[in-house]
Amino acid sequence: MGIGGIVVLIIALVFAGAVIALYNRLVQLRNQVRNAWRQIDVQLKRRHDLIPNLVETVKDYMSYEQETLQQVVQARSRAVQTEGQGPEAAMEAEQALSGALGRMLMVMENYPDLKANQNVAQLMEELASTENRIAFARQFYNDSVMAKNNAVESFPSNMIAGMFGFKHAAYFEIETQERAVPKVDLR
């Protein structure tokens, strides 16, 4: 084999290496998107597990607020039924649960001795953390989608993506309803 042959061989090897690297990067991004999607479910499940504890702890203090608590319990059981169906199917029930929890937290503000309770304070922290986790899990999912879509669209990885059928991933979009500030009836 002459010098020319060696040069051609080296170019071919470099080219193959680049294709493999780009392909593996796309696979990694695709798996990250899938994993991030499941992570949202994990965090939703965590919230479901937390609520019975919370209701149990506060119900003695909030005997006049049975209705609020009842709403939380009902919203939770509806949300539990959507477990395992993916975040999109669960969205409506989860939004209702968020709303019910928000109302309960607001009502709890009216009970100073409740907030002074160590157990309640801890549960409130757990609840706040769970809400954050859900939000951050969705955010990471969307970040992962952006990374994948960037790779699928930009040169040169878009050529590999086209060849091996890597597609755009869909962003998780929250309906405007949840983003709006909840209205509180003060009477």
Partner: protein, 363 residues
């Protein structure tokens, strides 16, 4: 002059400056009339663009550092060839591409790379012991655990180990050469002083160091700087002890050899200083980058801004820190944060500059 309140961020200014010391908003008509200079500092940006800019700056600095090492290696090889190689085999004069020089350049940079890689494989948690950090359980610090876990979710990483340093000083640091085997540590003073949002900003900053692999940057850059200093020192010493003695065969005694020698000496004296300056500049860029990453994770610049203000105001000294670990903290544990005199050698940018940049992230 009277005190001026900034119309943009509400910070109190002494009235001497033309722009607000916190956010850079022009305070006088003269400053407002110079829009081009302002735009350079105050350009609104988002955290992704800020992160890219910081990463680019790091890349330039790292390449500069490698170039310093390569030039030093080349000059040493070149001088050795002039002195030791068979004169007859060399081209005339001293300005030729030195084969020994190329070997020296590649050798020095390559050795730095190998040494860094070896260092990567151990010793990533030594600092925890040095500053007296203690692992805390979820029961002891539930909120800290929650906040760290939230940030790990936002970053898509495994939750790092969590440590607390029992000191009233306000500080935090992260360590770990691998993203999924890292640790964050905060001081007791920080836990007691910051609210949840501020703590989240600080932990986001530390998670930023982990995501951006800043321990590796710090280690690799530190190895290269140390190597440059060591090799430059060796070169100078061997020249000193050989005392300009004549070498066999080579042309070391010629005028050309003397010129080459002077170039080497000058560079060997300057290289460690420049390398150190580059190292500190890298450290400052990584701090800016971690701030931007914190905002990417929390989507709430206000938390980190408020935390940095509290950290800047705190006068509590941190006794556990030392010079070798100072670059790892969220704010430098030694320095007077507003000191501008020694900016080039600082491991961290001044806190006002960091707050200013955070405010530009569309806060």
């Amino acid at each position: 002059m009277a005190e001026v309140t900034c119309p943009e961020c509400g910070a109190a200014n002494s009235g001497h400056g033309r722009t607000c010391r916190m956010c850079g908003t022009p305070l006088t008509a003269a400053a407002a009339a110079r829009p081009r200079m302002q735009r350079k500092v105050l350009r609104r940006t988002d955290f992704l663009a800020a992160a890219r800019a910081n990463q680019r700056a790091t890349n330039v600095l790292v390449v500069t550092l490698l170039a310093i090492g390569a030039v030093l290696g080349y000059l040493i090889g070149w001088n050795l060839q002039l002195h030791l190689d068979d004169a007859a085999a060399l081209p005339a004069g001293i300005w030729f591409v030195s084969g020994w020089g190329v070997v020296g350049a590649v050798g020095l940079v390559g050795f730095g790379g190998v040494w860094s890689t070896v260092t990567f494989s151990f010793g990533d948690r030594i600092v925890l012991g040095i500053v007296g950090a203690r692992a805390v359980t979820r029961e002891e610090a539930p909120q800290l655990h929650n906040v760290v876990e939230e940030m790990a979710i936002a970053a898509g990483l495994t939750k790092p180990a969590i440590y607390v340093v029992e000191t009233p000083a306000l500080n935090a640091f992260a360590t770990g050469l691998r993203r999924n085997r890292a640790a964050v540590a905060v001081t007791r003073g920080l836990l007691d002083t910051l609210n949840r949002d501020e703590l989240q900003g600080v932990i986001g900053h530390e998670m930023g160091h982990i995501v951006n692999l800043d321990m590796r940057y710090a280690t690799a850059v530190g190895v290269m700087v140390g190597l440059v200093a060591l090799v430059a020192d060796l070169a100078l010493r061997s020249l000193y002890y050989s005392g300009g003695g004549r070498r066999r065969g080579g042309r070391g005694g010629g005028a050309g050899g003397a010129v080459a020698l002077i170039i080497l000496v000058v560079f060997a004296v300057l290289a460690p200083i420049f390398a150190k300056l580059v190292q500190m500049a890298v450290s400052r860029q990584r701090e800016f980058l971690a701030d931007a990453t914190s905002v990417r994770l929390t989507r709430n610049p206000q938390g980190l801004i408020a935390a940095l203000q509290k950290l800047g105001e705190s006068a509590q000294p941190f006794k556990g820190a030392n010079r070798a670990t100072q670059h790892m903290f969220i704010v430098n544990p030694f320095r007077n944060f507003t000191d501008r005199s020694s900016r080039l050698l600082a491991t961290h940018p001044p806190i006002e500059r960091r707050i200013q940049r955070l405010m530009n992230l569309g806060a």
